[in-house]
């Protein structure tokens, strides 16, 4: 590796941020979401020193519109989000490409193939019909592309989509750094260009639509010879692979493992819109079979197919359409070994004795499912909802009628898994409230309870609640208010009292709920199980929209803030613990299930792992034998 220029170990997301700094970005916004969060997070860390305005926004749409405004005013701006966030921002995105920008603007979006942290597998390139789309395959390339994309964006006066996936965002690499540009551009609204940003009717819009297409045509020339697209061909190969993003590196790795690296010509696509037609034609004309490998939809594949129709040489194009590439999940080396193997005629070999053993062992493995942190306030509020619903309906299991419990996007969504196991839907930000109202109006005759977090409430829950009140749905909404966007890494929310850059006002959930006109509003401490259960039961009995705000700071935040102060720990009085005889067979572990409560299989009693316990005291309220006590810890 070159020792001349500085190298630093960077995550793909950090590399995007570094690229933005090198390009002199002046405005940064976003809404957190795995696997995208570190982009804005790492820019916030250096914002003040670099004269950058950075914000965590209330949702992706407002984040986009803020960054877009900055770019209209000539600043270089970057907005970052995950793929499902781009759907929220799409209302503005699908209009912004018409007018374009003055300063360079990057929309960095991280897709999540395999969906380890998302509610769908989505290919955000499908939004890039009218705008250039860059697809880095590694952190180094992510950094380099962002720097170049800012320049191109400004030259073309068009925003640019930088499409990442989990395999790039969370990959790390020693990245060769470039020079940081300080860009001191005084923001200036282009008044003289009216009506460019006044998209009132067809007479403005149709010429701008035409402009967007002309911009792409102009960019096609550069895209065709960009170093981010690379044809690796010797001329004797019978097979070709066209691949983009993380899948390119995985496909190269697999061809090396299979020992066929020299038998396959590669076209690495770094700019997937506009696709480098001439390079594709070159490859298609040189080989017999071309395999297209990309995550997640056949975006490049369909374009390659249509180019193949235009050339004289007969070439077989294989990919998703032909069933050669799996239609779902990420394209890891494991998945691709078979895909590439089938193409080159290297059938899967017979499993060795050891591999058979491994296969057998993996069959009977317990899973590390999602679980709430010890002391998580949601543990109290979820337990309270579940107990109230069981009491009111007499139902113990999910598959029995009686209630519909809806989750939203956040940590409390864990209430769908054992041992809580009572939530049955989880699909979109704010969707718990609107779907709850829908179920109520559809009238299945069941109790309808929605669970939503504070950040999600601010993001998209407010219009849903207005709709429920306006249309008089009989639903109960539990807001699990921990004063932070917890699941993505404790980013501030509008009720945290801070912004990305410093102190900020506190916007209370309950104030908004009351202002909307909800008549039943209670604020409870989810660490107080009795009060929480009473409030929820009353709320369900209320005839109309009722809201219970379960309010307590995220345990991880609280633990850090109070680390210096005296802490509390729970302890199981071993004489009083009656083990499996407590009515539900180890109630604290089987039903309540805190990660800090451990079953001592020798003694057949519960005990507390004091490295995990945060002393919340919920288990002490739950234990039927009163065997758990909470004590002050003296340092």
């Amino acid at each position: 590796m070159s020792k001349d220029s500085p190298h630093r170990l960077l995550l793909g997301n950090e590399a995007v941020a570094r690229g933005a700094i090198e390009a002199g970005v002046q405005f940064v916004s976003g809404y957190p979401g795995t696997p995208s969060s570190e982009i804005v997070e790492s820019l916030i860390d250096v914002a003040k020193d670099n004269g950058i305005y950075a914000e965590w926004s209330a949702n992706e749409k407002v984040a986009f519109e803020g960054a877009y405004a900055a770019a209209i005013a000539g600043l270089r701006s970057l907005v970052a989000m995950k793929h499902v966030g781009l759907n929220v921002a799409a209302d503005a995105l699908m209009v912004a490409w018409e007018s374009g920008v003055k300063g360079g603007m990057i929309v960095a979006v991280a897709d999540d193939p395999g969906a380890p942290a998302s509610q769908n597998e989505q290919d955000s390139r499908l939004y890039a019909l009218h705008i250039p789309c860059f697809e880095p395959s590694s952190p180094q390339e992510a950094k380099d592309m962002v720097v170049r994309a800012f320049e191109i964006s400004e030259e073309l006066e068009q925003l640019i989509l930088v499409r990442l996936t989990g395999g790039v965002s969370h990959a790390f690499e020693d990245v060769e750094l470039g020079k940081i540009t300080k860009r001191i551009w005084k923001a200036k609204f282009p008044h003289e260009e009216w009506p460019r940003f006044y998209l009132d009717a067809g007479w403005v819009i149709c010429p701008l639509h035409k402009r967007a297409h002309e911009v792409l045509t102009r960019f096609r020339v550069e895209a065709e010879r960009s170093p981010f697209n690379r044809l690796e061909i010797k001329g004797h190969e019978r097979f070709g692979i066209i691949a983009s993003g993380a899948a390119y590196n995985n496909a190269k790795e697999v061809s090396k493992i299979l020992g066929v690296e020299n038998e396959i010509a590669f076209l690495k696509i770094g700019i997937s819109n506009p696709i480098p037609t001439k390079l594709v034609e070159h490859l298609l004309s040189a080989v017999d079979t071309v395999l297209v490998i990309e995550e997640t939809e056949p975006f490049i594949e369909e374009q390659v197919r249509s180019i193949a129709l235009d050339i004289e040489h007969r070439v077989k194009v294989i990919g998703r359409r032909t069933g050669h590439v799996p239609v779902s999940d990420c394209l890891s080396t494991q998945h691709l070994t078979n895909v590439v193997g089938v193409m080159v005629g290297k059938a899967q070999r017979v499993l060795s004795k050891r591999e058979k053993l491994v296969e057998r062992v993996l069959k009977d493995m317990p899973s590390r499912g999602l679980s709430l942190c010890p002391g998580c306030p949601h543990m109290g509020s979820l337990f309270a909802i579940r107990q109230v619903l069981r009491k009111m309906t007499g139902k113990r299991r999910l598959d029995q009628q009686g209630f519909i419990a809806l989750a939203d996007i956040g940590c409390y969504g864990i209430g769908g898994y054992p041992p809580h196991g009572f939530q049955e839907t989880e699909f979109s930000m704010g969707g718990s409230i609107s779907a709850a109202a829908g179920f109520a109006h559809a009238n299945t005759g069941e109790i309808v309870v929605a669970s939503i977090g504070d950040s999600t409430f601010f993001h998209a829950g407010i219009p849903a609640l207005i709709n429920a009140v306006w249309n008089q749905a009989k639903i109960t909404v539990i807001v699990h208010d921990n004063a932070v966007t917890a699941m993505t890494g404790e980013q501030p929310a509008p009720n945290s009292g801070r912004t990305a850059m410093g102190a900020g006002p506190v916007i209370n959930v309950e104030d908004i709920v009351k202002a909307i006109g909800v008549k039943y509003v209670r604020v409870v401490d989810p660490y107080d199980l009795k009060a929480t259960m009473e409030a929820i039961e009353d709320a369900i009995n209320y005839d109309g929209v009722s809201v219970v705000v379960c309010k307590r700071k995220c345990a991880l935040v609280a633990r850090r803030e109070s680390a210096a102060k005296g802490a509390k720990r729970a302890r199981v009085n071993q004489e009083r613990c009656i083990g499996e005889d407590c009515g539900c067979g180890a109630f604290c572990i089987r039903i309540f299930s805190c990660a800090a409560i451990v079953w001592d299989s020798g003694l057949k009693k519960a005990k507390i792992d004091d490295t995990l316990c945060n002393g919340c005291g919920l288990c002490a309220q739950v234990c039927p034998a009163g065997a758990i006590v909470v004590e002050e810890v003296t340092a």
């Binding site: 790390f172 993380a246 493992i257 079953w599």
Partner: protein, 204 residues
């Protein structure tokens, strides 16, 4: 095939400090002049989930270790090592902390933690070194230094091109100043434990 790339797999439970450990290993490798590619695989949960880091020292394409190619495994829990059995080379050296973090399903009795799990790992790999790294971390002064104990253990294998000094430099850059001496002690305890250990599978 000449193995010019050293593939290190770090496997553990979210919250054990395994991501920080992987960052220390990767940074130390960069400091030692190597090209690095790697990746963290983590799901939606901050705590309690199965988390792995793939670190590939030297030239490689994919940031993920392909099947059967992890030559060194740093295991924070035997279960998390076994979960990645597909990735682990038969000739691998596996360092594993023996103090278990039981999954919720095991605690509630719905699932079982594999019996004789070390025995099973031993059937899959050539060199298994088991140590109670939590106990060593407590001896260093804080159970949370578990990750640094395991980094120390890794350094002692002699299978990676990074000196203990470079590791210590890296650790001193990433941990809070107030915990530095604790962490350096944890590193030494992990280092000594493996230097003095015998392979659990060596006799075969």
């Amino acid at each position: 095939m000449k193995e010019s790339t050293v593939n290190i797999l770090v496997a553990g439970v979210g919250g054990q400090g395994n991501i920080l450990a992987s960052r220390v290993i990767a940074t130390a490798a960069v400091k030692s002049g190597y090209h690095i590619r790697g990746c963290d695989t983590l799901g939606a949960s901050q705590r309690g989930g199965h988390v792995t880091s793939h670190i590939r020292i030297g030239e490689s394409y994919s940031p993920f270790i392909p099947n059967n190619m992890a030559q060194i495994v740093v295991g924070f829990d035997p279960l998390d090592v076994l979960m990645e059995a597909n990735l682990i080379s038969a000739s691998a050296i596996v360092i594993v902390n023996t103090e278990k973090v039981l999954p919720a399903g095991v605690k509630s009795g719905q699932e079982e933690y594999p019996e004789d799990i070390l025995e099973t790992i031993r059937e899959i790999v050539q060199d298994l070194r088991a140590l109670d790294a939590v106990d060593l971390a407590r001896k260093a002064g804080d159970a949370r230094t578990l990750n640094v104990v395991l980094v120390g253990s890794l350094a002692a294998t002699g299978k990676i091109p990074i000196t203990p000094e470079v590791f210590k430099d890296t650790i001193s850059e990433v941990v809070p100043k107030t915990t530095l001496s604790l962490n350096l002690k944890a590193f030494d305890l992990g280092y000594q434990a493996i230097s003095q250990s015998k392979s659990l599978t060596g006799e075969r």
